[in-house]
Symmetry: D2
Subunit: 304 residues, 4 copies
Amino acid sequence: MPLSAEEQSAIAEARATPRETLRAVAPGMERHLHSAIPVLDHGFVRVVDYMGDDAAIVQAARVSYGAGTRRARDDSGLIRYLMRHWHSTPFEMCEIKLHVKLPVFVARQWIRHRTANVNEYSARYSILDREFYIPAPEHLAAQSTVNNQGRGALLEGEEAERVLRVLREDSMRAYDDYEAMLSTEGQQGLARELARMNLPMNVYTQWYWKTDLHNLFHFLRLRADPHAQHEIRVYALALCEIIRDWVPAAYSAFEEYRLGSAQVSASGVACLRRMLAGEVVTQADSGMSPGEWREFAAVWGLEG
Amino acid sequence: MPLSAEEQSAIAEARATPRETLRAVAPGMERHLHSAIPVLDHGFVRVVDYMGDDAAIVQAARVSYGAGTRRARDDSGLIRYLMRHWHSTPFEMCEIKLHVKLPVFVARQWIRHRTANVNEYSARYSILDREFYIPAPEHLAAQSTVNNQGRGALLEGEEAERVLRVLREDSMRAYDDYEAMLSTEGQQGLARELARMNLPMNVYTQWYWKTDLHNLFHFLRLRADPHAQHEIRVYALALCEIIRDWVPAAYSAFEEYRLGSAQVSASGVACLRRMLAGEVVTQADSGMSPGEWREFAAVWGLEG
Amino acid sequence: MPLSAEEQSAIAEARATPRETLRAVAPGMERHLHSAIPVLDHGFVRVVDYMGDDAAIVQAARVSYGAGTRRARDDSGLIRYLMRHWHSTPFEMCEIKLHVKLPVFVARQWIRHRTANVNEYSARYSILDREFYIPAPEHLAAQSTVNNQGRGALLEGEEAERVLRVLREDSMRAYDDYEAMLSTEGQQGLARELARMNLPMNVYTQWYWKTDLHNLFHFLRLRADPHAQHEIRVYALALCEIIRDWVPAAYSAFEEYRLGSAQVSASGVACLRRMLAGEVVTQADSGMSPGEWREFAAVWGLEG
Amino acid sequence: MPLSAEEQSAIAEARATPRETLRAVAPGMERHLHSAIPVLDHGFVRVVDYMGDDAAIVQAARVSYGAGTRRARDDSGLIRYLMRHWHSTPFEMCEIKLHVKLPVFVARQWIRHRTANVNEYSARYSILDREFYIPAPEHLAAQSTVNNQGRGALLEGEEAERVLRVLREDSMRAYDDYEAMLSTEGQQGLARELARMNLPMNVYTQWYWKTDLHNLFHFLRLRADPHAQHEIRVYALALCEIIRDWVPAAYSAFEEYRLGSAQVSASGVACLRRMLAGEVVTQADSGMSPGEWREFAAVWGLEG
């Protein structure tokens, strides 16, 4: 990951100087603070700041004066109860601030989560770096033939090579032209706010992104899902590891009641009840469409 | 202020145990942490947690790796520029979490600020304390005769005494009846979620309230204003003192460009330009309604 | 329901004058427009305006130029797909504006749903009416002995009578004193913004409340739930009937994938799979706490 | 503007079939409904739906049963009062839904306004058209030499030609390669969600965008401002014309108290008072920085 010496030293400096605070401190998170975790070929996720810990969730739920209950086990039980019964406000009492470097087309998906605070690097004001996302060969997939919105088999042989060459060459040419248009050597130099439009959407951008734990869980549920686009999913998976270290009880409840859970429709509930009573149920008498039945059968290990 | 011994000891404990962190620390805010600042007769504001400081605003505005610029003076200049030009997102990068005790009618005004996270003490689940707001005599005002939405002269003599007595007696009777209906001595005992409806809106409630600095400034601009109702304004003023210690540069910019600023309408701009050119302008040829001209004249020290 | 003659005539007038529009029109909703549907003893829900219909959801999902697809059946299938896969943004493209009259303690629960626009009747500016919620005897319940946050058996005999008498008398006395403090007959008259604090939380207030269909569904899922407090649930149930007439396809999908659905935890999924394979599972080897197992057993019709 | 025959006919059909409604109807807005107003070289703004009118603002502010007051003049006075005193909630009671076609780099600025509902055309699911924004020569500007974030003089002669040629050629080549990578002729065909990353940010996208009038005014204040980037400003200016026809009283108040108003800092207020009293004030004794004084002098027509 291409952090410059200067950037590395800014990070090292931030990590070198612990200071005293009277706030809640999450030891598992302190280990991550400031370090940039590499994602994709030039991207990263870096925790800049955080507020709260597992006990802070309990403390807010109880509107209490101290910090959580006395026993970690009670806190954990309450956190599981809150998550199970969709009490979202106590989870909003924890906050995280990230510095993320990511391709523009990923940033455009990410920003659709509106309940967050964002400061993006401005290409009106500054010049973007020559950094573009080029997929690793093991992620270069063909259009899915069954899912309009997904990937199918890996591209092979010459086609894969051709695609990678095109992506690289078009990126480099676009950047060369971006630089040439900006240049003030022997010419006026195009405004930065115009020149940037020549860059393709695999160019990297950066932002500070801040959100609360409830909204972060919602983001992770959608973006760590196997149906999410690979290029945003790897950011979500990196974040999952961080959150697990930050608020272990809340993350464990999130895995139990969200990530690993199943939402069963009214028809699905009726079918499962019949099946539990020994009945054999087929798509034809399930009340579900064929597509829905396929999804249902996959969850419950039925034959199509 | 009626914190119990147990509550006081929870606060003292939280203040007694500094821990190490690699996050930004605001020394002026650490002094306030956990202490309950009294407001009104039974209320308080208590900072439970915070994220960020002046440098964090600069750091986000620059999407930088380190912490702000090298020189506090440069940070302050940038912060003033951001505030002046309505760049709100860098201020959203600081966050504060408060524990507030306040009368219900104040809470109902406060909650209208929606961009915040709230956990309120639940009167479905728990029993409220016998604590009611009774105005101090110096805040017991008559209805304004010029402003439908404000206060006029202080109540005097017997009327003031009568009002205070009524407020006290009705509060006590409502609470006695609340307790009596809840009691399970020799009866079933009314559900808490029903019994609470007998309490008047000067009863105290509590909540955890968390918001970012930009939205907090917006709250303070409206609620620290002299036209705000006194009973919410005193909370806003207490918060102003805290914020000044937390982010002195941002607070100073807030005073300069928001609290102490004037919004001049298009007609007002035209009038001021004429007046600067030596012309005498009156309401009749100002393009303003009489009410608007009164407000304008008050700001600029003109005779009505 | 106590609408004055003047209010009734304003409603009748609004219903009497159809006008031409080029916008999407939902015939089922036009029937409800402006009429006040009674809720509780003095409350109501009244649809003031709406935007969009089932076809508008499809149109937005497709970012299309025309209105939905040609066939209602295709629209309905797409709407079910969107709801099943948590695509929330197309549902945000429908909007509803309500005029609601409700007791203050219900308003305080309602307002916790923050993604909405609200204009409440101002008791700083105006004088509230003498209208208080008094529960019907069939809703006057004792505190639940198993659920800290719920109701148990109905109150009986003398206790029920006593509670109703107390609620009525305290309401009337509080209102008498409110009026007496406001009066300017032979005295200055207390400011309205202060006098209102003497009123108990069963007093009725009114507001305009506007939200989008996605957030309304979220509200209904939580507040039409059998665990919601009865006094807010009756508003939610009244709204369900209205929404069913407005966007029948979306409402049907909401019933199938939200209202009638079950969220099964990771442990629950594992248990159901074992049970479908013929295994007998008990709480002891379910991986669930006793409380959680009780909830699970209730959904799937198992013995405790 | 390149609407296909099919799109034109969908629009014509929507405009051809007025239907009856009991809702508020804004005649000035009905004229705009569905028609696509051209912006930039391939973009447009098209009103798909709206809710409310000037009277609806008044109706919500009064929480009334009927529609506004009897006299338009009273409505207008109240609307001016609400705008002047920052009462934002009544303006939130009007809603607008737009279909917008715009370059991606403009969409990325636009989306930073988070309080809105958005459905964007999906390039994971569908194939984008061969349409790119190429600036008209009269908008092809050099980087400003005084403002890091703005434009200076127009590009001239050969440089202008060269820039336009580069933008056109890079766009066409990127699109050719996009098509070639997607093609399934004699190859597998790259997934759409990957191929799209090769397109530069002047490619056009489309979305449905829905917001309320208060947030729209906030958007227009920032984006119709002369300091906004030209390419988003032209969308804002097109919207201003539409809004003026929709809610004439509210738009007029917006011009008076926002668009044409001046925000004067605390130091600025002090300076203006001194100047009104006949004193000559210079930057040196103004309490303002040189940059701030320049902005102040420009507003009030002072010499630098």
